[in-house]
Each structure stands twice: as structure tokens, then as C-alpha cells.
């Protein structure tokens, strides 16, 4: 039981540039996984391959026992089960905070406007943005935008939430408010896959930490192992560079 997504032998090349090589890993239900690694190691590409924003060059992605890279598989039906939070927020500029959380529910999930609004308000409250329903993205700060973006993804009630460096584009004083929301989500049993440079955060919330280096998973294990007793030299070197 519990295996939501299983990535097998995944590879990805841009032209002749091999960015991911033979990636094997799985996401279990209710698990919080943090992916760390230096810039350019392929963390974003892995996340984007998982929700098919990038087309993998090889391997398989098994979702609830089905290979979603199969020609016949409905990409849109799969994507709506995964929530994605981007580094640059990517809120819909033409919609206010509430509509950002409603439009996917109405168009993709075919929920009624009333239901969608109720659900959107519920999640805007979870991220502490329910007072800002009328605000357009350009009227919000970075941290507020990111919290609305999290609410937008949650409103789709996905199986798994993917976060790609959700705090990297934020001013330092706003990082805390977003991490706080994510910690709360982690404690609710939501399945989360988080690319992050926030090592303290990863140590605190992760059930498992995946360290990526040059397109491969160099080491993975519980935070205790990765941060306190890393087995690989590469992991040690990376941690020394980032934690010093």
C-alpha cells in the first residue's frame, strides 16, 4: 500500500545535454520528501518531468499502478491530481486571489461555482490569505502571492503537492511565512515533494531527504542520515558548502 508515484529509470536530455540519468525513486502516501542539491543538478527538471511539464526522454512514471507516459494515458486527468507550486508563483494575472483558486476547480474538476468558492475560501484560510480574496496578484507581496499559489494548488485537492523552491524568489523576511504554512501542511499528512535550499526546514519536516548531484540521485535517506551521517563524499561536500 501507499505507493503513489514510482519513477523508474527516468532520464531527460535537452538536445545532447543529459540532465537526468537513470532516476529511480518513489513517493509514498503521506510522505514528505525534500530534494536538495546544488543549482543545475536537475531538481527542477525532475519535478517538471513528474508532472509532465517536461517530456521525459526515457524511463517510466507509474502513478497508482499505471504508466502515465503511455501514449493513451490522459495527461490532463493525471496533472489535476498533482498540485504544483512554482518558484515564481505564476498566479494568473487576470484573476484575483479567490478566482485563482476557483478557475481550475470550475474548468477542470467541473465543480459548481458555489462549491468551488467554498473550497477556495477554505484553503485561502489555511494559508492565511482569506482576507485578500479581492486582491489581484500585482497587489500582493511575494510571500502573499506564494501563499495564494499554495491555496490554488490545494483547492484542486491533489494526491501529491510538488514544490519547486517555493521560497527562493522571496525576500528573506517573507520566507518564514511560507515555510510556516508548509510545515502546517506537512503535519496534516499531505503527500509533499519539495525542492528546497532551506536545510533547517528540510531537517525538520522531511520524512526522507533526496540529495541530487549532476543529474543522479547521489544519496537518499532520513534527514538524520543525510544531515548528520551522510554516507557519500558528494553529500558531505555539498553540505559543507551550503551549511558553512
Amino acid at each position: 500500500m501507499g505507493n503513489v508515484i514510482e519513477v523508474q529509470h527516468l532520464s531527460k536530455s535537452f538536445g545532447n545535454h543529459e540532465v537526468l540519468r537513470d532516476i529511480d525513486f518513489s513517493v509514498n502516501k503521506g510522505e514528505v520528501i525534500c530534494i536538495i542539491g546544488s543549482s543545475g543538478s536537475g531538481k527542477s527538471t525532475l519535478l517538471r518531468c513528474i508532472n509532465l511539464l517536461e517530456k521525459p526522454s526515457g524511463g517510466q512514471i507509474i502513478y497508482h499502478g499505471e504508466n502515465i507516459l503511455d501514449e493513451k494515458h490522459d495527461i490532463h486527468a493525471y496533472r489535476k491530481k498533482l498540485g504544483m507550486v512554482f518558484q515564481q508563483f505564476n498566479l494568473f494575472n487576470n484573476h484575483n486571489a479567490l478566482n485563482n483558486c476557483m478557475v481550475g476547480q470550475v474548468k477542470v474538476l467541473k465543480r459548481s461555482k458555489e462549491d468551488a468558492e467554498k473550497i477556495a475560501l477554505k484553503y485561502l484560510k489555511v494559508v492565511g490569505m482569506d482576507h485578500y480574496v479581492n486582491a489581484k496578484p500585482k497587489q500582493l507581496s511575494g510571500g502573499q502571492k506564494q501563499r495564494v499559489a499554495i491555496a490554488r494548488a490545494l483547492s484542486m485537492e491533489p494526491d501529491v503537492m510538488l514544490f519547486d523552491e517555493p521560497t527562493s524568489a522571496l525576500d528573506p523576511e517573507m520566507v518564514g511565512e511560507v515555510l510556516k504554512v508548509m510545515k502546517e501542511l506537512a503535519s496534516t499528512g499531505l503527500t509533499m515533494l519539495i525542492v528546497t535550499h532551506e536545510m533547517e526546514f528540510a531537517r525538520e519536516v522531511a520524512d526522507r531527504v533526496v540529495f541530487m548531484d549532476k543529474g543522479v540521485i547521489a544519496e537518499e535517506g532520513p534527514p538524520e542520515q543525510i544531515f548528520n551521517h551522510p554516507r557519500e563524499e558528494r553529500t558531505k561536500a555539498f553540505l559543507k558548502r551550503t551549511l558553512s
Binding site: 486527468a77 498533482l82 498540485g83 504544483m84 512554482f86 487576470n94 482569506d130 479581492n134
Partner: protein, 241 residues
Amino acid sequence: MSIEYIISMITNNWPMFLRGAGMTLLISIIGTIFGSVIGLLAGVIRTIPTPERKLKRVVLKIVNLILSVYIEFFRGTPMIVQAMVIFYGSALAFGIDMDRTMAAIFIVSINTGAYMAEIVRGGVISIDKGQFEAAQAIGMNHVQTMWSVVLPQVIRNILPATGNQFIINIKDTSVLNVIGVTELYFQAKTVAGISFKYFEPFFIACILYFVMTFTVTLILRYIERKLDGPENYSMIGQPPP
């Protein structure tokens, strides 16, 4: 020439000027609306990402080729010549005697469509890639992404260019007098022919053209402000400090 003469020319001929101005407005309004719809459709089709399936890819390529030919042809030839070719050509080739007003609306529409297609394409390209990705990531397909997220932003952004096109259309319908459309220029010419005066009727037409184009400018500014919504938003309750 005197102010009194111009005024008496207006009082004697105002129904002709007014009908001419009305015809000009009718053709340019309908032409701009139809043209914008054509432009939106063509622009959206031309920005569809290359499909995975071979068949779809081939179909899209053919459609794009046809659209390119249409756009390049109508942008690349003068409307006055197109008017002659289409109006007399349709009579010659198919034996259709086109209604002049219909022919005028048709010509202005397809011309506007050709220009608007490029304006829309530029508008879609300029939308941040993140907007498309966020829409795809919540499971929207291409049509949903376009309709709910991209096009509303594109339309807002291309509104000034659309207004520009509208103004060009008001002025350029004057060339349609060559196929006998009774627009403003045609009417001014008729009054000139009757009165043997040239400055006055065209001066009146000139003023009327300007009143029309300037009114359109003001209306579009107003619409732009409306679309942008209020500068501020109202909070619901009080957020925690």
C-alpha cells in the same frame, strides 16, 4: 469661401454627410469586430504548440500554411486594389452581384483580421511562460488555458493596438468609394460634384472623420480603465497583525 458658406453647405447637405458618416462608422465598427474575431482565431491557432501525434501535426501545419498565405496576401496588397478585385472579380467569376455595403464590410473584416492575427500572435507570445505552465499544471487543456488565463490578458494588452486598427479602418473605408460604397468620402465627393465647390465639402468631411476617430480614442481609453479595475482592493475582515 467663408464660414457662412460652410455653414450653409452643412445646413443644405447635412443628411448626405450624416449618412456618409453613418456608413463609414457602420463599416468600420462591424469590420473591426469581425476582423478582431478572425484575428483572435487565427492568432490562437498559430500559437498552438506542436502536437505529439503525427496526424494532428500535419493538419496543424496545413492550417498554419493557409493562415500564413491569407495574412501575407492581405497585408501585402493595398485595400483599394483588393476592393476592385473582390467586387468585380466575384461578379466575373461567380456571377454574384455583391451588395456594395456587404462587400465593404467583407473587405475591411478580412484586412483587419490579417493585421489582428499578427497582433494577437505577438500578444500571446509576450505572455509569461509561467502562466501557461501554471494552467497546465492544474490540468487545463490548451483551449481552457487560452480561454481562462491567456486570452483575457492578451485582449487587455492588445486593446491599444485594436483601437489603432479601428481608427485606421474609419479613415481607410474612404478608399471603398472606388466600388461605389456611399461612405463619407463618397458623399463629400458627391456634394462637391453638385456644388462645384471642393474645399468646403472635404473640409466638412475632414472634421467629421476627426470627430469619429477622436471619439473612438476616448471610448477606448475609458474601456481600458474599466478593464484594469480599481487601483485598490477591499479587504474582507482584518488580517492578523
